[in-house]
Symmetry: C2
Subunit: 343 residues, 2 copies
DNA sequence: CGCGAAACTTTACGCGCGAAAAGAATTTGA
DNA sequence: TCAAATTCTTTTCGCGCGTAAAGTTTCGCG
């Protein structure tokens, strides 16, 4: 590696013996130049360690390779995990992802979208806050920037949606629980932040009716994204009051279940499917920590792999289609039931 | 808001009645222009909604307002939480933070540093992987880019370090545990990823000796960042073998403790300080989930607020000092003991 | 009122690259 | 072997802003 400092593409063109416009083409897409030329460029690249100035590149390029990834709450390991996978796949596809978290606040979500515009991203993968989101702002954003929604759908917004099939989550857990014991009640927040929660409740009602069981929805109070705390506080109140209506509880999501389990432990209710267990608890998401709850949590797992793969592939297709799809597509992936000790 | 589209600073200068160089100064630092001028600019900004092109700005500016935040593993809620706070404070100070996660891999950490160079950041807040880090690469990076290390120290690297005082974590927990019962053994990974773990072990040995107790270190096998799993598997082997040497366990960190608690639950060992409890378990970090373990975890809490505030302030001072400090400073913040049910 | 300092305007150039057009060189295929 | 197709080079322009220098206006203050 020669340590002659290359200041710009002009100088690199000189030492590489290649014209600058050809280099420009190469950096835009290495496949676009003849193999013999590519070899010469890459040989020179080995020697001189030149990298194009990213600001100058993006200033004039119509299409950057920037990609924004926005999640509603990065402190939730579920989103950290899905964001990690999506980020990874974006890099593999040659994009430059930047990760943002709305931290549960609509104002911040709007700020992120605004600063994202100035990054001129080729596309954006957006998991909106849900109910709290400023729908008008998101619509305006999606009108300007090619956007694929994931995890949490907003009807008609964005060019596509990729997420999980909430019905399958509920169908599988309810089916399992009813086959192996009492039919479950449904434990959720009164005003869920996320539209998936509403879909899950609806699915619960439908599945229970279909199976000929009376649905029972148990709602707890609480706002925001501190689900564990809300689940814990709500469960304590219920346990200290009349208790749950049945001995089997299906939680709307794992984080609520984590709170519920801690409340059960605190009050001495034994959870599980064995002898001497007072309650069975199951849930949905396969949160990274659900393997370490006490007892470990029976849950319906997201297909993390498929969702992240499909979301990034959809975004790539969208970008390569010029930023618009003819019709808005929705891809939903089924859950996989994970049997553990809690039910 | 007039919807005449302003294309660049030139056009905005025209409609605002301000010369372009003055606008340039204003966007660089609003305080640098006369108040009356600032008002006129801001009035025009209200009307025309112009934002400078970020790429053109950064291309020529010697000092951008970009700031990089790098954490080793974002799927760990501890880092998600500290990153969130640091990000927030950077924004408040007028910087443009970008968040990166090394996802536990040194190769990725190097990639991040490389792509960070091209962002010409004014400064970087880096929590390195630790043992796995490529020290030479990090040193080279810190030589080029003003960097403040946080959470995990690398001696002599970076302009400053901000983190927690591991000794105080250990001193407080050991002191409490010995005052209220048997002196603890120390539960940790054999080859910890993080240098804090080593400092904590050393502190444990020292504190125990000082108090006249025989230190007992219990090491479990395992590599990587899946601490809960490592703690769980290790604890199961110990419980199924001879058991722990004493009835009180101090875990090197909360994530290990979460695994340990799940193992205890699985094997029917009751954890806590009350009657009928077989083990007491305490730990360090005050991980966001440690309130919801079964039982809830007694732990030494990071001073999240002070660490994040100090780290960002140090970075700002560093940037304002031209990127170099005279001497490398280290700021350590003491832990706060959080008593819960596990010990 | 007048003076100097501070702030502003005008003018001009440069940053590093994208992009387009026209011509030269190379490759391809029959 | 030769023309068409492809690829590369040369030339030129522009993007939106930073920055510097020189000249002009405004401000503070005695």
């Amino acid at each position: 590696m020669d340590d002659i400092k290359i200041r710009n593409m002009e100088e690199f063109a000189a030492v590489a013996g290649i014209s600058r416009p050809t280099l420009s083409k190469y950096f835009h897409d290495p496949q676009s130049v003849r193999p013999s030329t590519r070899e010469r460029i890459e040989a020179a690249l080995e020697q001189y360690d030149y990298r194009p100035n990213i600001f100058a590149m993006n200033q004039n390029r119509k299409l950057t390779r920037n990609v924004g990834i926005v999640v509603p709450y990065l402190a939730d390991p579920f989103f950290a995990e899905i964001a990690r996978r999506i980020e990874q796949r974006c890099i593999e596809m040659g994009y430059r992802p930047t990760l943002f978290s709305s931290h549960g606040e609509a104002a911040l979500e709007n700020d992120i979208l605004e600063s994202l515009r100035s990054l001129k991203p080729a596309g954006v993968l957006l998991a909106p806050l849900g109910r709290a989101s400023d729908r008008a702002e998101i619509e305006k954003f999606c009108a300007d920037v090619p956007t694929v929604l994931f995890d949490s759908n907003i009807e008609g917004v964005g060019e596509a949606f990729v997420g999980s099939d909430n019905f399958s989550f509920v169908a599988q857990t309810v089916d399992y629980l009813t086959r192996t014991g009492e039919a479950p009640c449904f434990f959720e927040m009164r005003t869920p932040a996320n539209p998936n929660a509403n879909k899950r409740r609806t699915a619960y009602l439908e599945v229970m009716q279909r199976l000929g069981h009376e649905p029972r929805v148990v709602k707890v109070e609480g706002e925001g994204w501190a689900f564990e705390e809300i689940g814990q506080a709500g469960a304590l109140r219920i346990l200290d009051g009349g208790g749950f209506p049945v001995n089997t509880i299906l939680c709307s999501n794992d984080r609520l279940a984590i709170g519920l389990l801690s409340a059960c432990y605190e009050r001495g209710y034994r959870v599980g499917r064995g002898e001497g267990c007072a309650l069975r608890v199951a849930s949905m998401d396969d949160h990274p920590f659900s393997r370490f709850t006490c007892p470990s949590l029976t849950t319906a797992a997201h297909d993390y792999d498929s969702v992240s793969e499909s979301a990034t592939r959809t975004l790539r297709d969208l970008i390569e289609s010029g930023g618009r799809f003819e019709g808005r597509t929705e891809a939903l992936f089924a859950a996989k039931l994970v049997l553990r000790a809690s039910a």
